[in-house]
């Protein structure tokens, strides 16, 4: 891994991320409001159909808050998967004409999602206050938890963007993958439905630790997510390292086959 080279191109990373932010909601009527609207609408759907009609438990928390806390990191993750999988193919004009570390492209795409994440997070804090929940010092845990989301999102982004160069099938697999992943993550339901022993296996999905971590750090949920976060961190790291290795192995051929 040539980290020095990436460091030398850090300004390029910022420029590319800035470009992605600038053009993301261009020519949309609602603009940046979409960043808040997407998780909010999903929350509404979940609350009505799953919380109310389905009667799914929410660890004693108000169901809308319970699901929205999970949807904030999830929306960022799902969005990153979507955008980064197409990032190399979408920038083929650059790839075939200029050299720069190719890692900058999916990385910038994931970074560009941080703005949306921040907006959704502020809405979440507002919602908590509305429900009368005041954040404690545990909120500090959001920082490492966010790092885990970024790590997993980037890891997946590297895998998918590199795979997509050779196999455009990625485009068709992705919606199914995202749906499956959503269901395999305790967003609409609590992980307390599982036995404690199984929760650590469950947390191989890095989003499990993140989501339960968010609930614990912000809402003071009853689950003690320590082991899950530990397993998820390792899984996220594994995802990033394997993604980076695959990406590095494939990048020499990008310009030829993209």
């Amino acid at each position: 891994m040539d980290l020095r080279e990436i460091w030398e191109h850090r300004e390029l990373l910022i420029f590319l991320a800035g470009r992605d932010v600038k053009v993301r909601y261009r020519q949309t009527a609602l603009g940046i409001i979409w960043a808040a609207l997407q998780p909010l609408l999903t929350m509404a759907v979940f609350s009505v159909f799953l919380g109310r009609l389905g009667g799914i438990p929410s660890d004693g928390l108000p169901y809308p808050l319970f699901s929205f806390t999970a949807l904030v990191p999830w929306t960022f993750f799902a969005h990153s998967l979507n955008e980064s999988s197409n990032s190399i193919v979408g920038n083929q004009q650059l790839i075939t004409k200029i050299y720069f570390p190719r890692l900058a492209i999916p990385t910038a795409t994931v970074l560009a999602g941080a703005i949306d994440f921040l907006i959704a997070f502020l809405i979440l804090i507002g919602m908590m206050l509305a429900y009368g929940i005041v954040p404690t010092v545990r909120i500090i845990w959001i920082v490492p938890l966010t790092l885990i989301v970024f790590t997993s999102a980037l890891g997946m982004g590297l895998w998918l963007s590199a795979l997509n160069v050779r196999y455009r099938d990625v485009r068709y697999v992705l919606p199914f993958l995202t749906q499956l992943w959503l269901l395999a993550t305790p967003i609409a339901y609590p992980s307390s439905l599982l036995d404690t022993a199984w929760r650590s296996v469950y947390a191989i999905n890095p989003m499990v630790g993140v989501v339960e971590g968010f609930r614990w750090a912000l809402l003071d949920s009853a689950t003690s997510p320590g082991p899950m976060i530990a397993v998820s961190s390792l899984a996220a790291l594994g995802l990033l390292l394997s993604g980076a290795l695959y990406f590095r192995r494939m990048e020499a051929t990008f310009a030829d086959i993209v």
Binding site: H9, E11, L12, F15, L16, R19, K22, V23, R26, Q93, L94, I95, T96, K97, I98, Y99, F100, A252, T253, A255, D256, I257
Partner: protein, 434 residues
Amino acid sequence: MGDFALEVRGLGKQYRLGAQRELRVTLREALTQAAGRVVRTPASLLRPGAKDRPDQGLFWALHDVSFTAPAGDVVGIIGNNGAGKSTLLKILSRITSPTTGRAVVHGRVGSLLEVGTGFHSELTGRENIALNGAILGMRRAEIARNFDAIVTFAEIEDFIDTPVKHYSTGMYLRLAFAVAAHLQPDILLVDEVLAVGDAAFQKKCLGRMEDASRAGRTVLFVSHNMTAVQSLCSRVLWLKDGRLLDDGPAKHVVSSYLQSITDNVTDQQWPDAATAPGNEKVRLRRVAVRPERTDSHVITTHTPLQLEFEYFNLQPDAYLNLSLHVFNEHGVMAFNALPMTEHQWQGRPFPVGRFRDVCHIPGDLLNDGVYSIELLIVQDDAKVIFRKRDVLVFAVHDAAEQRGAWFGDWEGAVRPILPWTTEFLGATDSMNND
């Protein structure tokens, strides 16, 4: 590592055909060339190079290319389309990796492979300078330092805060080149920039390249403009079908390249009078064109030429004269030449037998381009008894000297160098006194 800025050893790049749009273009060209070769000289297919041609869907865009370039060298790269020039630059700029061999580059590489890549049409000129600069590898401070120079160079001061989608093509290209030109790499790779812009802008671009080499930077320059290559480059690499065919002083390599790409008809002979062109009155025996001085085989605009025509007169006591129609490649007749200064035979009856006419075309008369000669044989000053088009076809190459800084086309059917004077007639206040 030595003192080389660039070391290329056994470089090869293999492509699978049909893998990419761009490659199909190359394939098409390769096939056209191969077809052309079959028509002209079937034997050339038997040459060793031929067996590497489209074979099982793989082909070598570049094959076993080696060279070194010391710092400060300006190296031209020439060759037909599909010869591997762009592939070479892509490997050197690390856009793609070689299949075999390696390229060692000492220092920062700046490439101008296609100006304007990385521009975003929704962003303004100012934003694009920042973005493009970053993509090309410039630091924020470097961009800020050069910002004014870039804007001035591109001549877009008034439009700097307008989205580039509203720019004219010329403005867009000028801005793109300006950003790239202010990059200060150790090695500058340039692919055919002369295709864009007007004469004044061309001059600026070439000026930047000269500055770069004077500052000790190595420049690799791909171009189809042989005049520019000859005047800018001390050394030239000639690529053909992915191989390095020649590597040497610019003048030498460029002239052998030019020699190879023209289908000249410079010498035709018909030893058998029965099948020779002609009729019952006259028959051709031989036509030829050659430089008057035999030490050079390349015809430039400066070269005095000699056209020779041998023919049989089959009628007793015929009053004959030749007439030459000289056409340029646009089909324009540049001039008509007649034996007006010939006094030995003109106005006298020709006996039956073999004659030879020689016409001298001085240097600095023909322009560069391909000329073809139509030969007419006239009887009694008025009656055309024989005419034949394209008896001779030859290319006149551009002479790099005496052009000043202009590298574009030199217009006109002829290109004489004329006596010229300029006089100073006094200061402006004398205008009224006249």
